[in-house]
């Protein structure tokens, strides 16, 4: 068996060397498939229906290649917009936003044709928004329009028992009005991030096309029939599309997991330079990397940063890393009110050296002690090959409210010891503790983090014990919202580029993470709600800076790393530029071309 392993190691080494030697063969390679762009991804789309999709691959496939939004991000910016299917970006100055910040008027572009040749109308715009809101599947994207338009207490079209809210259609229908050539949206409350949501979540599809394919007709009477459908293919646009974008859906071959888009020659702007986009799912990195090397793929998904050395230095290949990206991952969350029932993760459930009490982390000294122990830069260097920025709060680098000089806890064993000695009236230091720190199996970066924390903590006091445990992703997701995990590592990527999309999940008492942690600070809740409805960016920024200060003071969460993006593509791909809202890289292939 040992000899067998040795043989395997020798072979793998031989393979690596062979691979290194072979990379030279592509030098001077001619452009392959000059009018076709091939992307090989690690995932495949779940659905092509804009009212269903809520995963990165589906979104990247249809937005903004097939479907277009009313407004669009300007270049690489996420805080400035250009008109797209609207003719101007609403603002206070042009009267597109009302003085109270609640009403947004979008002037709809005339003469834009859908892929089937019919003309887009303001009614199609209203219908498309209503369809996203009201078809509302469990775990889908509907809340992204429901909440800002009808108020953040409306996260779904159904009540807690799963029954349809009786007036949900009427409220939505009243909130979105067609007035002549304009679509006017009136929010229940002002919301500063509304334009950033519209830049991402207002894809317009043809009502006629949807209805002709058995979809919802836009009427109140039939809405229930199309609400929360159990299977994706019951949605009319599951595998069909009729948008206005620069590419049309040619085929989605689910057998080979390949989506093919073809140029829309009747596009309302100049047609795209490429004739065809081919988006293939190739799960394994090895074949993806070889396809890139051979020129069969123009861009590939890197997978993990551990794969970076395998593409660096490949002739004819560009590797762009450290790209701005709107993610905060991982962060280390501490649960204030751990559910002790049948929970072995807290040992004895007492502060007796063999466990922790359920409210162990409610003591600020415990939380600070842990914060002083996490060496974030070393962690980023080890787990991410130095890719990423040290985090100091919920709002990522580059976003409104990011605290460039925000305070955080320096790495200090002495300060950690001092905090532990103060925690729980000195009992923590005297008696010690034991709990389990979990990570989701397969996530090597998070596993590294838990191991670093374990080593740092156990090195302080022989009575301190942390077990690290890998659990499946599904178990992980099931346990943490139910307060079962004492401490856990997770991350967040933007739904829309606004600080509200980070401060709410991380800090609001109803947020995705903070609710699971049992963290509640009324001042934090107030500031988040106030900043959310504030139209003045400067005032918003002040509120977010204050929130980041509170994140430092309360420290329910140890922020570790702001994500950065990495893109791997052939040098012959032209016209690409980065926007943090393009996590896959090919979301806006309109400008792409191929040539030496």
């Amino acid at each position: 068996m040992k000899a067998h392993r040795h043989l395997a190691v020798v072979l793998i080494l031989a393979l690596s060397l062979t691979l290194a030697a072979f990379t030279g063969v592509v030098q001077g390679q001619a452009v392959k498939n000059p009018d076709t762009f091939v992307y090989q991804s690690a995932g495949d789309p779940e659905s092509l229906d804009p009212a269903w999709e809520y995963d990165t691959t589906s979104a990247a496939t249809i937005l903004w290649n097939i479907y277009e939004t009313l407004i669009f991000f300007r270049g690489g910016r996420t805080d400035l917009y250009d008109p797209m299917l609207a003719t101007e970006v609403p603002s206070l100055q042009n009267g597109g936003i009302s003085a109270d910040g609640k009403t947004f008027t979008f002037k709809i572009r005339q003469g834009v044709k859908f892929h089937d040749g019919t003309t887009m109308t303001p009614d199609d715009v209203k219908y498309s928004l209503l369809r996203i809101m009201l078809t509302d599947r469990d775990g889908g994207p509907s809340w992204l329009l429901l909440a800002p338009i009808l108020g953040f207490d409306v996260q779904s079209t159904r009540d807690e028992k799963g029954n349809l809210i009786p007036d949900i259609f009427d409220r939505s229908d009243r909130a979105i009005q067609v007035q002549g050539n304009n679509v006017v949206i009136t929010l229940a409350k002002p919301y500063g991030a509304f334009l950033s949501i519209m830049a991402n979540w207002s894809p317009v599809s043809s009502q006629k096309f949807v209805v002709a394919n058995g979809g919802w007709d836009g009427q109140k009477a039939t809405m229930a029939k199309f609400n929360n459908l159990p299977k994706p293919d019951q949605m009319a646009l599951f595998d069909k599309a009729d948008g206005t974008g620069p590419f049309k859906l040619e085929r989605w071959d689910r057998g080979t997991k390949t989506v093919t888009l073809i140029r829309n020659d009747n596009y309302w702007r100049a047609p795209a330079r490429l004739r065809r986009l081919v988006l293939q799912n190739v799960e394994e990195f090895g074949p993806r990397r070889l396809a890139l090397q051979n020129g069969d793929a123009d861009m590939i998904a890197l997978g993990t940063v551990a794969n970076l050395p395998a593409v660096q230095g490949l002739p004819g290949v560009r590797v762009l890393d450290d790209l701005p990206s709107l993610g905060n991952s991982p962060a280390l969350f501490m649960t204030y009110n751990i559910d002790s029932e049948g929970n072995t993760d807290i040992g004895s459930g007492k502060l007796d050296g063999n466990g922790i009490p359920p409210n162990f982390f409610s003591d600020i000294h415990v939380r600070r002690a842990f914060a002083y122990l996490v060496d974030r830069q070393t962690y980023i260097d080890q787990a991410y090959r130095g890719k990423g920025r040290v985090a100091n709060g919920p709002i990522p680098f580059g976003m409104l409210g990011y605290a460039a000089r925000g305070k955080w806890y320096e790495v200090s064993k002495d300060k950690a010891i001092a905090e532990f000695k103060e925690a729980w009236g000195g009992q923590v230091w005297d008696k010690g503790f034991k709990f389990t720190l979990s990570f989701n199996t397969g996530n090597v970066a998070r596993q590294t983090l838990t191991q670093m924390v374990k080593e740092a903590v156990e090195g302080l006091n022989p009575k301190f014990k942390i077990d690290t445990r890998g659990i499946t992703w599904s178990t992980y997701l099931g346990l943490y919202p139910k307060h079962k995990l004492p401490m856990f590592a997770l991350g967040w990527a933007a739904d829309y580029p606004d600080p509200d999309n980070f401060t709410t999940p991380f800090m609001h008492s109803t947020g995705s993470f903070s609710a699971g942690q049992g963290y509640k600070n009324p001042e934090v809740d107030r500031l988040i709600e106030q900043a959310g409805k504030e139209p003045d960016p400067k005032k918003r920024e002040q509120a977010y800076l204050k929130l980041q200060e509170l994140a430092y003071q309360d420290i329910p969460t140890i922020y570790i790393r702001y994500s950065v993006g990495t893109l791997v593509l052939r040098s012959w791909v032209k016209g690409w530029y980065n926007n943090p809202m393009f996590p896959e890289g090919y979301e806006y292939a309109y400008r792409f071309a191929k040539g030496q």
């Binding site: 779940e46 099931g478 919202p481």
Partner: protein, 341 residues
């Protein structure tokens, strides 16, 4: 014989029930939250976890869930496979032809070369061909399939660019989806010939070559060893000596008298191999991104795609029954002493 075959066919529904009950029972070991996680891939969707469990009845007793599934089945619906992004029955129909085609390209050379080399090794015991076949078999079987796969991918795609992964190249794929191309069998090499498109045939063979070669190398080794040992056993029998004493040519003795009788264990092994290959060759399909049924079945199992796993298991169980039946029929054909009944 006819009655025997009919009885075995009647067994099929029973096997299907047994397999599906077992799968449903095993799945109960996993919590509803974990099964719901198939639909919740991001923390952002966590708020919907309880609704999803309710919606798909994941917290209902196992017999209720099984009953719901049977009810669907009565309407010809094997359920939605979230991993295949299509109904399970469609997924089987979509992925199986690729695996069947790959299997044929593996099985025929494995059988022909394996039996020939095994026979030669036995006839020339302790001579060069025997040593060579032993070394050949040990080296090929001794290395894990995925290592072979990676080596072949690296050499034949990374370096030589002869055998690319996938099932067809870009142009060929587009052509086969065009109205000019008719799919008769869904086996691309055969359809290409039927359409008179030699270039599609060549392209399909180039894509099938990588995974096929990987599996031919690995699977043939076993067949060589089994044929050899079976032949050695038979060559020691009295009737072989008698045949030689009668003055029959050595070729006739080996091919007609000895090999025919040595084939019984080979048939057993071959039927298992054939069914095993048809049931999916996960590693080779994954490494070469070959869109076969094994790759899908493995993905469905990992992601707890219940309808996918159940449909896949039923399909493989049916294949196993049919494979064993075929082997039984072949035994009777080869050895007249065996009577089925």
């Amino acid at each position: 014989m006819g009655a025997y075959v009919a009885r075995r066919f009647l067994l099929l529904p029973l096997v299907a029930v047994g397999v599906t009950v077992l799968i449903f029972a095993l799945l109960q070991l996993v919590s509803p939250q974990q099964r719901a996680a198939l639909f919740v891939t991001d923390v952002k969707q966590l708020g919907a976890l309880d609704s999803i469990i309710r919606k798909y009845g994941l917290d209902k007793p196992v017999y209720v869930q099984y009953g719901m599934w049977l009810q669907q089945l009565a309407h010809g619906d094997l359920g939605w496979s979230q991993t295949a992004r299509m109904p399970t029955s469609q997924a089987i129909a979509a992925f199986f032809p690729a695996t069947l085609e790959l299997t044929l390209y593996i099985f025929v050379p494995v059988l022909l070369i394996g039996v020939w080399l095994g026979t030669q090794a036995a006839v020339h015991k302790n001579q060069f061909v025997d040593h060579f076949s032993r070394l050949f078999a040990i080296s090929l079987r001794g290395m894990p399939q995925f290592v072979w796969g990676l080596i072949l991918l690296m050499v034949f795609y990374g370096w030589l660019n002869w055998f690319p992964p996938g099932r067809l190249s870009l142009d060929a794929d587009l052509f086969t989806k065009s109205p000019e191309f008719h799919s008769y069998t869904h086996l691309l090499t055969i359809d290409a010939l039927l359409n008179g498109q030699g270039w599609i045939f060549v392209d399909a063979v180039k894509h099938i070559a990588g995974p096929a070669l990987t599996l031919v190398l690995v699977e043939m080794a076993l067949l060589v060893r089994i044929t050899r040992s079976s032949m050695l056993e038979v060559l020691r029998q009295d009737y072989v000596r008698t045949a030689r004493a009668k003055g029959l040519a050595e070729r006739v003795v080996i091919n007609l008298h000895a090999r025919r009788n040595a084939l019984i264990p080979v048939i057993t092994l071959s039927s298992l191999l054939f069914v095993g290959l048809l049931g999916g060759v996960v590693l080779a399909e994954t490494i070469f991104n070959f869109p076969g049924i094994g790759k899908w079945g493995a993905e469905a199992a990992v992601q707890l795609d219940i309808p996918g796993v159940t449909g896949f298991a039923m399909f493989v169980a049916a294949l196993t029954v049919l494979g064993n039946l075929a082997a039984d029929v072949l035994y009777a054909a080869i050895d007249p002493r065996i009577r089925l009944g």
